[in-house]
Amino acid sequence: MQATSNLLNYILWTPFIGLIGVLLIPKAKENMVRYWALINTAITLILTLVLYSKFDTSVAGMQEAFNIKMPWISSFNIFYSLGIDGISLPMIVLTGLLFFICVLSSWTVTKQIKAYFALYLFLQTSVFGVFLSLDFFLFYVFWEVMLIPMFFLIGIWGGENREYAAIKFFLYTFFGSILMLVGMVALYYKMGAGIDSFNILAMHGGKFAGETLEIFGMTFSFAKLFFVFLFIGFAIKVPVFPFHTWLPHAHVQAPTAVSVILAGVLLKMGTYGFLRIAFPIFPGASVHFSDAIAWLGLINVIYGAFCAMAQTDVKKLVAYSSVSHMGFVMLGLAAMTTTGVNGAVLQMFNHGTSTAMMFLLIGILYERSHHRWIVRPDGSKGFGGLYTQLPRYSIVFIIAMFASMGLPGLSGFISEALIFLGIYERFTTITVLALLGLLLGAAYLLWMFKRMFFGDVIEECKNYTDMNAREIAYMIPLCVAVIVFGIYPAPVLNVMRASVGNLVEMLSKF
């Protein structure tokens, strides 16, 4: 009992201790910093797996054994309150895994290594904080703190247009969070400013259905207004159309590891926010707006796919494919059926692994070619015949691509199938249109593959070396995850089933 009761604390603060360690290591010992970060993230990953093994899949709510609750600011009833359930657990494991892998992929970073890993570990703590917090204030603090390391990671280690990307990312997200802050304080007072007033779980269940408020003499429904506020806050993170414009810049400019984290984990914070905060707190309003959410999700799917198709920069292509895939998650959420939401959470996890693979692979290629053009601006080919040049790389790329496309037998298929099954009952038109998105997904990915991997080997591709042992080492866990969860998704589905069921049941009452 004693060992598990502090487990969430260990998970949350191990990276932070790692951060302090990084700062203490002398600047000259660059490899020591790398190994320290690797060991640190490895420990964190092991801790998340321990958490997974001790997780009780039959409990729908928060797992009592792991809950941590300590007063932080008593006069405002703000608690340091952590907890885990079936929705956050897959995200926690995903975070642990991706941060570990990305340390390996960051091995080639040479600029300001100390600062890089310090910020990197700082980012990890804040991401864990978002997924573990059960106190709205604490959640908000972690949600915002995350922007600081991201800003520097994109801004210092990014591509040529990094400053613009970093600032755009920061401002967009900050704009969303400010609306969330207003919503949070309003909820605090609607809850009576009492002991549970920042407690996310206590707010659940549609307590604010009948409340109204007046602005300039017009009466608004409290739930609907603040649902929209929270929605915008989270939608910017997902990103939902039309709030997605920061994403291509941030993804393309960020260094490989940060793109992976951004696409793999950070986007999921947005959808996690819907599942943990916006939907359960305002179930009535979310059902009311579910049509709109579904349509926005559909726009994401189709628009993201078309944008991806038009790209000549392969990283930008994958970035837009994230927009498209996160649209599927939104569709699954909007379905508000058990199958749909299960599919959405599974898609959050699967997209995390498959898109991480894509970004890592592009990073590997970039280290050899120093450009990412499928077609250069002057019309000549950027890559050609990679398949004969880099056989190992190509195999991994094919796995990643098919997983991302949703080919049966790989992970993307299961989650997308579940989403479609879930949403068909409610939105038939949207389902049919969204299937078009799948088709487009296959089209842009295969077209990209054809242009880069087939055809004649162009001159500069001839001296590329294939993946080295380190690169293979960090791709293996992701390949395994993509294949295993494609055939046997039960390890992920089982942990989330009870919690998702609970949420859907609550939503079905409205």
């Binding site: 006069s75 915002e144 400053e163 970093a166 600032i167 401002l171 900050f174 400010i178 304080v185 007046e214």
Partner: protein, 488 residues
């Protein structure tokens, strides 16, 4: 009701000490020979004087509120806390003066003396319970400020700043007196307590005169806070004055004006009615405009000092939001905001000042790549900028959170959203400096003399509360919460 004069004096120790400091400094300055540059003793005396004012104000903090000098001055914990903030601000500005090259050596004592004088005016303003005392406070504060603004005697911009400040100041004082005379004409008293009592039974015709009079009255205070539309003087004065003076102006007169505004709002306009609606409505518009205009003007600035000056206008707007809700929670949030604002502004201006001393200007490019030369300073500056923008877990966020809290409790949702959008705008220009410091290569490797270990230590010391108050703010909140405005 009131104590007699002698008994009153014992409650009036901080103000007396501040006066004493000022006179003591004049005497010490007179003993220096012309050619003697080092004025160690003078600064030592100033520190001792200001610290003792702070200490005695802290003693007053716990005492029950009391009206002294026949009810024309109120010593309550609210005014004491405001005084502590002003005093620390003065202390910070004086230390900066001793380190800065922006003020010539022989002018440093003059600044120190006049800053103590402004402090006396500010303290009077925070405690005033009588229109005349309030007016004396404002004038003490203003007249010395005019001189401070034109401290660089041979500099055209500085003289222009002083003249502008004086002209605008004279006009607003006149308008304020005009308003006061109408209030006196209708209500027959200048004492706040009696005015508050008289306001309860006004006829419609009287309200028709009294409300505009109060708005005229507001002009004088608004001028000191530099809120829109009375802010025209601020950028020029901030630009033309030496940096320590700018630092001083963006803290002490603002806090003093805000304190007076809090007292007036809570004493006169707490009861619902026409007066309340008019006053709160006016303040809402002023606050929204102040935040927005301050922020938008700050975006285009070339000089960091000017950027900080404009941003201080917008911070004043945010603090007015805490005032217009007219509640204990609002007052508390204003005080908390002032405390964090004090530390953030001081530390940020310190860094700007040291950079300015080195290069002769403080344009944004001077900060390029600071992190590669002075990593500690660059990190502190980043923390300060994030805090000013209101990113958790820094104290600037907590301060904004309290303002939001006060607004939303009283259901001012629109204002809360406007304030929120403004912090997004402000983030843009605060990030600009963080971006230049960390993302750009360094311009030169020259040493910046001002960043001595002692000065770096001082900046770190000032930044510690910015972080600490963001994480553990309960104690300070309790202090701010205890500092209630005394209403008889």
């Amino acid at each position: 009701m009131g104590l007699n004069y002698l008994a009153s004096l014992s409650h009036y120790v901080p103000e007396l000490l501040a006066c004493l400091t000022m006179f003591g400094l004049i005497l010490i300055e007179a003993t220096y020979k012309e050619e003697k540059k080092d004025r160690g003793l003078l600064f030592l005396a100033a520190y001792i004087g200001l610290v003792s004012v702070t200490v005695f104000s802290i003693f007053n903090l716990g005492k029950p509120p009391i009206a002294i000098f026949t009810n024309s001055i109120i010593i309550d914990s609210f005014s004491s806390l405001s005084k502590i903030i002003m005093c620390l601000g003065t202390l910070g500005a004086v230390y900066l003066t001793s380190q800065s090259d922006d003020i010539e050596g022989n002018l440093k004592p003059e600044f120190t003396i006049m800053a103590s004088g402004v402090l006396v005016g500010g303290m009077l303003l925070a405690s005033a319970n009588n229109m005349l005392v309030l007016f004396i406070g404002i004038e003490t504060l203003s007249i010395l400020s005019y001189v401070l603004a034109s401290l660089k005697k041979n500099d055209e911009r500085s003289s222009e700043a002083g003249l502008k400040y004086a002209l605008y100041g004279g006009i607003t004082s006149g308008i304020m007196l005009f308003g006061m005379s109408h209030i006196f004409g209708v209500l027959g008293t200048i004492n706040f307590t009696e005015i508050a009592a008289a306001l309860k039974g006004l006829t419609d015709a009287q309200v028709f005169i009294v409300l505009p009079s109060f708005l005229l009255f507001l002009v004088g205070i608004g001028y000191k806070i530099a809120c829109v539309p009375f802010h025209m003087w601020a950028p020029d004065v901030y630009e033309g004055s030496p940096i320590p003076v700018t630092t001083f102006f963006s803290i002490v007169p603002k806090v003093a004006g805000l304190a007076a505004l809090v007292r007036i709002s809570t004493t006169f306009f707490a009861d619902p009615g026409v007066l309340n609606v008019g006053w709160v409505g006016t303040l809402s518009i002023i606050a929204a405009l102040t935040m927005t205009v301050g922020n938008i003007s700050a975006i285009g600035q070339q000089s960091v000092k000017r950027m900080l000056a404009y941003s201080s206008i917008s911070h004043a707007g945010v603090m007015i939001l805490g005032i217009l809700v007219i509640s204990d929670i609002g007052t508390r949030s204003v005080l908390f905001y002032s405390i964090t604002y004090l530390f953030m502004t001081l530390a940020a201006f310190y860094i700007v000042s040291f950079v300015n001393d080195k290069y002769g200007n403080d344009h944004f490019e001077r900060f390029n790549g600071l992190i590669y030369r002075y990593p500690t300073m660059a990190i502190m500056m980043s923390i300060l900028m994030f805090s000013l923008a209101g990113i958790p877990p820094l104290s600037g966020f907590v301060a904004k959170f309290h303002i939001f809290n006060a607004l939303i409790l009283e259901k001012y949702y629109t204002l809360a959203v406007i304030a929120g959008l403004n912090s997004v705008i402000s983030l843009y220009y605060y990030l600009k400096i963080v971006r230049l410091m960390t993302l750009k290569p360094s311009e030169s490797d020259e040493e910046i003399k001002g960043f001595s270990y002692v000065n770096q230590g001082v900046v770190v010391l000032l930044t510690v509360p910015v972080v600490a108050l963001g994480l553990f703010w309960e104690k300070i909140l309790m202090v701010a919460d205890g500092a209630k405005v005394f209403i008889q």
